[in-house]
Symmetry: D2
Subunit: 224 residues, 4 copies
């Protein structure tokens, strides 16, 4: 049913980029553009550009996607507020999916955290995230997404950097006589590649606008 | 505001019974009846009888509460289906609160588990419970409550018995690339005593009927 | 066999002080001195003074123990280097046991951590500690003891403050393909009171000197 | 320094077999034999045969290794006592490394567990293992190795089957007032492939005999 997709990857040689390429090519989709620090390789124009690179390459990738005039999936972690605003402006002209975490489990964790936070108003809260030693931003974008569930509350985030851990996140609520903890554990980066594939299938049929991965999973609408 | 309550405890000398008595007497309520394997001690008729004893004493406690014609809170763990049915019949004539776990956190865990089970239909599920070495029933009544959220699904429960652990429960969902876990940890039995106090305050104003601790926490109604 | 001990407690009304008093009096020992912010209560001279108070009271407690000329057990958390040095000087004249954590499990954790650190030299290390919201010092003294196992290595400590948690500590080693974690969980403050009782029995037969709780558990000697 | 190795893999298409082949070929070693349910493929005689298949193929693989007269690394999980005995007999004529788990971290866990079990004689013990839903044997061979540390003691093992989890193991000690837990988490099967590579390098220089992965890691000797 799903036709084959012509896709491009920025940050092609990175850990996430190569995982995405493996999954997409397994599914029969066609890599028609790739870029990395050592240059670009273009066969034809992609229908969707997937940005798995670092924030430093962001301005260049914005230019690329405008030249291609294609859908844009942004999986860069550690993007600044300014760059997020530029992305929202861009989304008036092309469909954009942006998230700091493309796992379905994290979407459920955010959803459960919101419900628990309504029910446990006077309990303490602690967020913890653990990632591999090569991760550059701290705390993780996902941990910040969890913190945002509590809005203006000042919630502590503990960041651990440990070997090759793909990514663990937990939020713990503590009362005087009991604690309640919700933990997400990514087994492999494959999980994120699968969320990005789901996003690519979602965005091809959408009008211009700014979509989150929550929209991809729960089917909500453009809110740029 | 809350008037003082005349309360009775069956299983008065047990771990939970004495915790309940400590909390209720701290709050200024009056112990007017107590019973245990070594006999009964009655000053006057209680407004509420709290059953913290073992299933073996259940028939006797049913007689007691009928004689007192007072509200009944049942915190006995390991009650059989038959005895639960007897309790429901009794609730036509007196107000009853029954639960295998009187902690608020467990109520939230059950609520979150229900939501997660809707969203993660094809993931594997594992329930784990850990309790002190003196706990006699296995798996815990609380673990069975969690399993019931999944209705007819055959969910595995692992039971661990370890030193003086007051009571831990977790439910874990596993996909191929990620896992999501909800864990409840009881810091002390005080937590259960506080839930029983909340139930006593709730039941004094209620008409005859069978109430769960979910009803006490979320304010639902008699469903015997 | 163990004769009854005449003991004194500084910080008598605190969480740890009252737990210590409960356990010692259960065992038939005699409280002959107690002090707290609101004053002192002296029946006779204690054989051992147990300091469960805050660092601010330290100078006063040093004077007390010199007046009593008795053994000294110091369970104050958050003592500065300077005060520890004063304590070592004092130990030339009286027997002293000092520790930031009087649980046997923590002693085993320290022991296992030392062995693991020898075997896993190039793995990353992360220490985490979680305590109740009233705990004032951060990171915990115990977390610092764990960090000291790694000597001059710069190891990160994450501190969580959560409801009524008595005290959890973990040390996690991370390689590229696997992680190894050692976790200690205090079920109740009773554990620390039991370690202090063990220390009191130990110190009564010892000559002047500075002893750690490691010495109490593993039977090593004075190393002031 | 290490010369290139000519290796063979039985169970070549399985999850572990392909992981081993990826790592060995990355390192420049040469696959000269492979077998699976659909047949064999032989270029030349291997210096070492690595058995990543199922117990059902064991007798056939024994014949293979005798024909090749080469070293033998056995990573099959769920081997019966009888088959292990056959393997020990075979090791009189060829060098054999056998383990149910080729991760270094598990070796450390076993080592720490042994030490802790000496120090915590009267505490309760619980072993837990979690693996992906495709794992056929239960409990895991590794969990049995952990249980063997406690010799004749009857220790409970809880087995969880959950999504795509590569393999987690924990052993928990519980006293009345505290618990101590040692947890190993495999991030990916790559870890096991690395232990098998280490074993291949080890076994090529060894005389006939039966070696465990403990011997490979800690350098002990033949104990068939």
């Amino acid at each position: 049913m799903q036709d084959k997709i012509d896709y491009g990857i920025a940050g092609y040689r990175g850990r996430l980029g190569s995982e995405v390429n493996n999954l997409f090519s397994e599914k029969g989709h066609r890599l028609v553009f790739s870029s990395d620090v050592d240059g670009e390789n273009e066969t034809s124009k992609p229908q969707v550009l997937i940005d798995c690179s670092l924030p430093e390459a962001f301005e260049n990738n914005i230019k690329l996607v405008q030249r291609f005039n294609c859908s844009f999936i942004v999986a860069v972690t550690g993007l600044s507020e300014n760059r997020l605003n530029d992305l929202k402006k861009l989304s008036e002209r092309i469909p954009v999916v942006q998230s700091f975490n493309f796992s379905i489990g994290i979407q459920i964790l955010l959803n459960l955290t919101e419900r628990a936070s309504d029910l446990l108003k006077d309990w303490d809260i602690e967020i913890t995230e653990t990632h591999h030693r090569m991760k550059k931003d701290m705390p993780s974008g996902t941990a910040k997404m969890i913190k945002n569930v509590f809005r203006d509350k000042d919630v502590n985030i503990s960041s651990l950097r440990l070997g090759g851990v793909p990514g663990d996140h937990s939020v713990e609520f503590g009362g005087m006589g009991e604690t309640l903890k919700i933990t997400h554990h990514a087994i492999s980066r494959r999980t994120f590649a699968e969320g990005i594939l789901k996003s690519a299938e979602f965005i091809l049929n959408k009008e211009n606008g700014f979509y989150s991965f929550t929209d991809v999973v729960f089917g909500k609408e453009n809110h740029a």
